[in-house]
């Protein structure tokens, strides 16, 4: 059962979790894991089914459940070793990154196994890299395109994208940092993302 206490824990900071793991209290570890299962498993699987529905609901449903367990194991290992990814974010955000990263790895392997030919074709067509089957996965080529475009942007726009997409700050957090309303923050981020998209699609224009 996802209790208020569990919800509270998921809002805590990863550093608090790392401290808990360091003390190696089996109770604490169990408690955290219990809370994550109770509060987050269904949410993540539901989220994955919507986000990656182009790969088929049944497949995503199965893979995202596996990703949840594997991601949680990886999170536990990293927390114990004090090597949490994106450790400045909220625990919930960090967990989401772990689950998503694991899911992407599993999905990509599965996708590539079943569609080797398409993969080759798609990785060679730069214009369509954000539209094809492989679009949602990491590739060096795509990453370079994003990075180059981002480095061309205005400092504040670039910073907003870094906050949003790398630090995974929420709308509320960005609104607070910029001291603007949530609506204004949403609008601002959207404009930045449109500019980024434009720069990726038309790299030679400024």
């Amino acid at each position: 059962m996802c209790t208020k206490d569990c919800e509270h824990i998921l809002k805590s900071t990863p550093s608090e979790v790392v401290e808990g793991f360091k003390n190696a209290s089996s109770f604490f570890v169990k408690k955290i894991i219990g809370c994550i299962y109770a509060c987050y498993q269904k949410v993540f699987v539901g989220w994955a089914c919507v986000a990656y529905n182009k790969y088929g609901i049944d497949k995503i449903n199965f893979i995202s459940n596996t990703a949840f367990t594997d991601g949680l194991l990886k999170f536990t290992e990293d927390a114990k070793a004090n090597k949490l990814y994106n450790s400045n974010a909220k625990l919930k955000t960090v967990l989401h990154s772990y689950f998503n990263m694991t899911l992407l790895g599993l999905l990509q392997t599965e996708n590539r196994l079943t569609d080797k030919v398409n993969k080759y074709k798609k990785d060679t067509v730069i214009e369509n890299i954000f539209l094809e089957n492989e679009a949602l996965f990491y590739s060096e080529q795509k990453y370079k395109a994003i990075e180059t475009a981002l480095n061309k942007m205005e400092p504040l726009d670039k910073q907003i994208i870094v906050w949003r997409q790398i630090d995974e700050k929420t709308l509320d957090e960005i609104a607070t940092v910029l001291d603007i309303s949530k609506e204004a923050a949403s609008n601002r981020i959207y404009r930045c993302m449109l500019r980024l998209k434009n720069l990726i699609e038309k790299p030679n224009t400024d």
Binding site: T3, G46, V50, F130, Y143, I146, E168, L171, Y190, M193
Partner: protein, 277 residues
């Protein structure tokens, strides 16, 4: 065509996994009917996933000049602090005025002051003290003997959240535990064992919270259904304390006698039985 502000806000909330299941279902339908929204989502996911996948990034750090452009807001909140201080100051002044003690025992103005006191309602009229001291001080007896049982070393994760609160001395969430709906997820324990612990700790919490009827029902369940004698004896002990708090010495005595030779509460049982006899 561009997305509306509301649509983009929903998209952000979705990416942050900041949606309830119902909101997510509605968003899924919206995505199915809106190509622009779907395309934007895929783009954002792709950017995010690529940052996740990249081992390191070469995003240039902002230069000193750029940092000036990324001007973080200067929150001029001094007036809020000033207003808060003013309100606090006024409140302290008001209460210091209203709480001034009135010398009720001044002989000269006794009647007038008594009338004032009555009018303003500032002094609570104490009821006359009656000698109602019971032969057995049940509250003291309960307080002297009630110590919430420690949580077990191994317990099912379904109870983890409530047991943590319990261990911290907050019995509310354990007291509200919905035992019928505890999910049977991982943990490798059978339903009986989970129920046993749930009823037991819920019962203790409810005794502590003074919800004695519910507490008795839960502990009674453990007394009748527990798989071990020690657990049954523990349940009897807390049941007895519950009845003592209800000032029902008859039932308490029967329960205490039933604990028998179980060593854990031997001394306390003997003492209480002597006292209530």
């Amino acid at each position: 065509m561009e997305l509306s502000n509301e649509q983009y806000e929903r998209l952000c909330n979705f990416l942050d996994a900041n949606m309830s299941m119902e909101e997510m279902a509605a968003f899924e339908k919206e995505l199915a009917n809106d190509d622009i929204l779907r395309s934007q989502l895929n783009f954002e996911l792709s950017v995010r996933n690529n940052f996740l996948g990249a081992k390191e990034n070469n995003i240039k750090e902002p230069t000193q000049e750029e940092k000036k452009i990324i001007k973080l807001p200067n929150r001029n909140n001094w007036w809020k602090a000033a207003a808060a201080a003013l309100i606090l100051g006024l409140s302290i002044f008001y209460f210091s005025q209203t709480n001034k003690t009135i010398p009720v025992d001044t002989v000269q103005h006794k009647d007038t002051l008594a009338a004032k006191v009555k009018d303003t309602g500032l002094v609570k009229i104490q009821p006359e003290k009656k000698d109602t001291t019971p032969k057995i001080d049940f509250v003291k007896l309960f307080d002297d003997n009630f110590v919430p049982d420690k949580i077990p070393e191994n317990y099912p994760i379904q109870l983890a959240a409530e047991l943590t609160e319990y261990e911290k001395g907050d019995y509310t969430s354990m007291g509200k535990l919905d035992i019928a709906n505890i999910s049977e997820i991982r943990g490798g324990r059978d339903k009986q064992a989970i129920q046993e612990l749930a009823h037991y700790y819920k019962g203790i919490s409810l005794v502590k919270l003074g919800k004695l009827d519910d507490a008795i029902a839960n502990l009674q369940w453990v007394k009748n259904n527990a798989t071990t004698d020690s657990m049954k004896a523990n349940a009897r002990w807390y049941l007895a304390l519950g009845y003592l708090k209800k000032e029902n010495t008859g039932k308490a005595k029967v329960l205490l006698e039933g604990i028998g030779s179980y060593g854990r509460y031997k001394k306390e049982v003997k003492k209480i039985i002597q006292l209530i006899e």
